[in-house]
């Protein structure tokens, strides 16, 4: 159960680095990449390099990358055209006293893709979700924000899933309700009538430690209607799903019309960039909410983003990821059934997840994912997975062959 001594481990170098890290870095590795969230000792902790749909850890183990850096890698690691565009801009310069033309080009591109009126650019998802909340407050003159329980919007105090350093006042005006629960949403709207600035939600529910849940039929239409009636803005947090389901924003895949949409992750194929795109009537309010960061005008990431969007469109990357995801989910279902196991495949095909039925404490899930890692397929036991356009049918079939062996062990009940 314990991580083995480094010298006996498949992940010796990862463990050695972690021992050093834990001396000089709080938590050793903090946040979503913490080993504490996987199965400690059974997963790599540190990466070394990556190419296409694969990466190598600090020990030289090769993995089919079905987490894609937790989403940013949408075309594959080190995509030659994206990197060529980035490299050209790097030679011209990245961090100037001014924005470059790339800022304007990218804002134009994002407004054209989404059909919305304006865009701003940042570096991380939470930069954008927090700012979007402020814009909603500025526009409406109201304080309260509704959100979905178990949703993730970043590590800022109003929305962090962490506990340390948070004071009740940080969340005094944040109210949560369960996903897909229209009655609970309407209750909150009624209880705080005239005080709610916005509802922020991801286009579908993708909680950690849970299956992904798509919107129930009619959910978004009814939620949108309830918000509109009360003058409540709708913020789509598309940081995780953006550009994997629809090039114009995932709300278009689910048929609703947000006032503000936050993107990050896949936008730059691994380059640090985020964006908020908003309706024209919010532009004046948006102009009044201060927004900046030392690196936010970095032109390299913007060129990478422009090229990423171009290639996704040109090569139908989204269609490709969907087809690969369908193949993967169908194969997982069949593989589990062959071994007499019941699994739940959830989420859109391009952002898949699988869990076992009757799996108290996620024991089977942890065993399954650890076995997959040992066989060179990196899946997370407690967080949705990601496909990218660089994956191939052969990659998926290889992962399914590994899954067959992993399912056999899970079915045998060995721990």
């Amino acid at each position: 159960m314990n991580p083995p001594a480094p010298e006996n481990s498949h992940y010796a170098e990862s463990l050695r680095l972690f021992a050093r890290a834990s001396r000089v870095i709080p938590g050793g590795i903090y946040g979503h990449t913490s080993p504490a969230l996987t199965v400690p000792g059974k997963f790599p902790y540190f990466a070394a390099r990556a190419e296409g749909g694969r990466y190598w850890d600090a020990d030289g183990n090769e993995f089919l990358d079905l987490m894609c850096g937790y989403g940013p890698i949408v075309l594959g690691h080190h995509h030659p055209e994206v990197e060529a565009a980035a490299e050209k801009q790097r030679r011209d310069g990245d961090c100037f006293n001014h924005p470059t033309e790339a800022t304007v080009l990218l804002a134009e591109r994002l407004t054209a893709l989404t059909g919305l009126g304006w865009a701003v650019l940042g570096k991380n998802g939470a930069d954008m979700t927090t700012w979007a909340v402020q814009v909603a407050r500025e526009f409406t003159g109201r304080k309260k924000i509704l959100r979905v329980r178990g949703g993730y919007h970043g590590a800022h105090a109003w929305c962090s899933p962490g506990h340390g350093g948070i004071i009740p006042e940080d969340r005094a005006h944040i109210h949560a309700f369960p996903w897909n629960d229209l009655d609970a949403l309407r209750d909150l709207l009624a209880r705080h009538r005239g005080q709610v600035a916005a509802l922020i939600a991801s286009p579908y529910h993708h909680p950690a430690f849970g299956d992904s849940v798509l919107p129930a039929p009619g959910y978004w239409a009814a939620a949108e209607e309830a918000c509109r009636r009360d003058g409540v803005l709708l913020i789509s947090d598309d940081v995780r799903a953006g550009f994997r389901l629809h090039l114009g924003g995932s709300h278009q895949a689910f048929g609703f019309t947000p006032d503000l949409v936050c993107f990050s992750k896949a936008l730059g194929n691994g380059h640090a960039i985020s964006a908020t795109v908003g309706k024209a009537e919010l532009k004046v309010a948006a102009s009044r909410v201060f927004l900046t960061g030392s690196f936010w005008q970095g032109a390299v990431a913007m060129r990478a983003a422009l090229t990423t969007l171009e290639i996704l469109e040109r090569d139908d990357g989204i269609g490709r990821m969907r087809r690969l995801g369908e193949r993967f989910a169908a194969g997982l279902r069949a593989g589990a059934e062959k071994h007499g196991l019941r699994v739940n495949c959830s989420g859109p095909p391009a952002i898949p997840f699988m869990s076992f039925a009757n799996d108290a404490g996620w024991q089977r899930q942890r065993r399954f994912c650890a076995e997959m890692a040992r066989r060179g397929v990196f899946l997370h036991p407690h967080h949705n997975w990601f496909l990218c356009a660089a994956h191939t049918e052969a990659d998926i079939d290889g992962a399914l062959a590994s899954a067959d062996a992993a399912f056999a062990l899970v079915a045998a009940g060995e721990t």
Binding site: P3, S22, S34, P35, A36, H163, I166, G361, Q363
Partner: protein, 183 residues
């Protein structure tokens, strides 16, 4: 962040968690070999100096976790901050073990209410928290352990539902707001 403590909850903790700890400490003291037996205060609220004795440190670790787990049940019923945490925690059973000390207890959350006991839990554990080395358990008890790092190195092993462990840990940590460890 230290949250406000309530005198009424503090009194309930004294009655339901601390007084039983005195009885346990007295028993632990009787079981200790030799003449130079530590005082009950040293076993229950040791200073850094008291903990230089391995016998005291080991006994204190088991007593401290026993007290904290009993306290969690009381906090879960009466402390608003803890109740707030448990209201949004899925039901389940957690097992806490420190094999070197023979420490093996459980907490079970059912419809927002906690109960606890020793040994085999009433239902299979959804999560098991284990300290392979008792010294690490002592560090955690005194708020001196980087738990995330300890999970990565295997000094703390959590097997099963991490959210349940995380939420119960928040309630356990509340004990330190009511009874800060002495330095």
């Amino acid at each position: 962040m230290k949250k406000p403590v309530r005198p009424t909850v503090w009194l309930r903790l004294i009655a339901g968690a601390v007084l039983p700890a005195f009885r346990e400490a007295a028993a632990a003291r009787r079981a200790m070999a030799g003449d130079a037996k530590p005082g009950l205060r040293a076993l229950l609220l040791p200073t850094a100096r008291d903990l230089e004795s391995e016998a005291v440190a080991r006994a204190h670790t088991a007593l401290g976790y026993g007290t904290a787990l009993r306290g969690a049940v009381i906090l879960g019923a009466h402390d608003p901050a803890s109740r707030g945490v448990l209201a949004h925690t899925a039901d389940g059973t957690a097992r806490f073990i420190i094999p070197e000390l023979g420490f093996d207890r459980w907490l079970r959350l059912e419809r927002g209410a906690l109960r606890g006991g020793r040994g085999e839990p009433p239902a299979p554990a959804d999560v098991t928290l284990s300290f392979p080395r008792w010294r690490t358990a002592l560090a955690a008890l005194r708020g001196e352990l980087d738990e995330m790092a300890a999970l990565g190195t295997g000094d703390l092993v959590i097997s099963g539902s991490l959210p349940l462990a995380d939420h119960l840990n928040l309630v356990l940590q509340r004990m330190a707001d009511y009874f800060p460890p002495s330095k």
